[in-house]
């Protein structure tokens, strides 16, 4: 009887203890930073538009405060400088790696891309990661919803990453055009 009861009992006890300790560790290590701009985000905002009063758009839901994403799975958050009517879309997109491109795309009042800043890049260093270089990202500056982003040349040996970046830009300017009223409202 003991030999049948003990194994599952010990395993259950170990599971319960481990889960309990992990709950404590989670509460201690991970804080709710929803709506707070990280240093890298602030650097991106000022790098694209210069100094300003940037804030992340948030909404209150049953689960607590969440960033505004307009129901788009690639959009992580929207950062605005309401005074200067500047907007930055935080987008995560697939490149060669899944979710390999994580960047801020700055869009001006005229709906044109003003610049971009990579928060992290999971693409192959030396190949796909080259899409984050200023010489390439500058090719997207000035494009709006009326332009065909597909006309921008892909980078050699970084086709998937270039296509991912195009998709991110397209998504950002489309979302901006559709939701401009809500963003600055």
């Amino acid at each position: 009887m003991k030999s049948k009861v003990m194994p599952p009992l010990v395993l259950t006890l170990i599971c319960i203890i481990v889960c309990g300790l992990l709950v404590i560790a989670h509460d201690a290590a991970i804080k709710d930073n929803t709506g707070v701009l990280t240093d890298e985000m602030k650097k991106g905002c000022t790098g694209i538009f210069g100094e300003g009063e940037y804030e992340m758009l948030t909404k209150k839901t049953d689960k607590g405060t969440e960033p505004v994403t307009f129901g788009d799975k690639h959009l992580n958050s929207v950062i605005v400088d309401k005074q200067n009517k500047n907007c930055l879309m935080e987008i995560t997109c697939d490149g060669y790696a899944k979710d390999g491109l994580h960047l801020l795309i700055g869009i001006g009042d005229d709906g044109k891309i003003k610049g971009m800043h990579f928060l992290s890049i999971g693409e192959t260093p030396g190949l796909g990661a080259k899409v984050a270089q200023k010489e390439y990202t500058d090719k997207y500056t000035g494009l709006s919803v009326e332009d065909d982003i597909e006309n921008v040349d892909n980078l050699t040996a970084a086709t998937y990453s270039s296509k991912g970046l195009k998709k991110a830009c397209e998504q950002a300017i489309n979302l901006y055009t559709v939701h401009k009223g809500e963003i600055f409202g």
Partner: protein
């Protein structure tokens, strides 16, 4: 061998003589996948060392409590607990490294080195020896990953720990940061360790060193004779 030397041997054996990556060839997936940069190698190595030391310690303490029938599930739960803990810590305090290591951080749970040391060593030895074994193996793993990451970063990207190296940064050999380069560097390091340890291939392969010996039970020799 005296007791003190035996204890010291538990710590040092994992660094070269029984290096988990370069001698026993365990944990190959994270070794090849995350060693594009030296920094990633250090991060992955230290995370694995932490899990190895902690899981070895806990398993060694509980070795008389855990019934044999459920020892593997218990080991996995304990290891997964420590992996999740280090995952939370990295997510909270080192988000960039957490993002760079990606899924391979969670996959430490099923790393052969950790389960192998838990089953082969920690469940049969006392706390001090188990902790030293975990630390030695972890350091060996970290050194191997750091060496691989350094070589791949230097030749593939022309930089080391983010610092640019003159000439190489203008003429990087991109193949080194690709999977083929990973295998090449791994092969070179294994050859180097074999040279340092003076290890030579056996003239005749006996059942002693054969990984299939348990299943084959000498049958291959009978067939060869026939």
């Amino acid at each position: 061998m005296s007791e003190e030397r035996k204890t010291l041997y538990e710590l040092t054996k994992g660094i070269i003589k029984e290096n988990p990556v370069l001698v026993t060839l365990l944990g190959m997936c994270p070794t090849l996948a995350v060693t594009v940069l030296a920094e990633n190698g250090i991060g992955m190595g230290l995370a694995t060392t932490f899990v190895l030391v902690c899981s070895n310690a806990v398993i060694s303490l509980l070795k008389n409590v855990i019934p044999k029938a459920v020892r593997l599930p218990c080991f996995i739960v304990i290891i997964a607990g420590f992996v999740t803990f280090i995952d939370f810590i990295m997510q909270g305090f080192l988000p960039e490294l957490h993002s760079a290591l990606g899924v391979f951080l969670q996959l430490i749970t099923v790393n052969c080195i950790i389960l192998g040391r838990a089953e082969a060593f920690a469940s049969r030895n006392n706390l001090v020896r188990s902790v030293l074994d975990g630390l030695g193996m972890g350091l060996g793993f970290t050194l191997a990953l750091f060496a691989m990451g350094s070589l791949r970063e230097i030749f593939g990207l022309g930089s080391w720990l983010g610092m640019k190296i003159p000439w190489l940064c203008d003429h990087p050999m991109t193949i080194f940061v690709m999977p083929a380069g990973g295998f090449f560097v791994l092969g070179c390091l294994i050859a180097l360790v074999n040279k340092i340890a003076g290890r030579k291939p056996p003239k005749e392969i006996s059942c002693e060193g054969c990984p299939n010996a348990a299943a084959c039970k000498g049958q291959c020799k009978v067939e060869e004779g026939a």
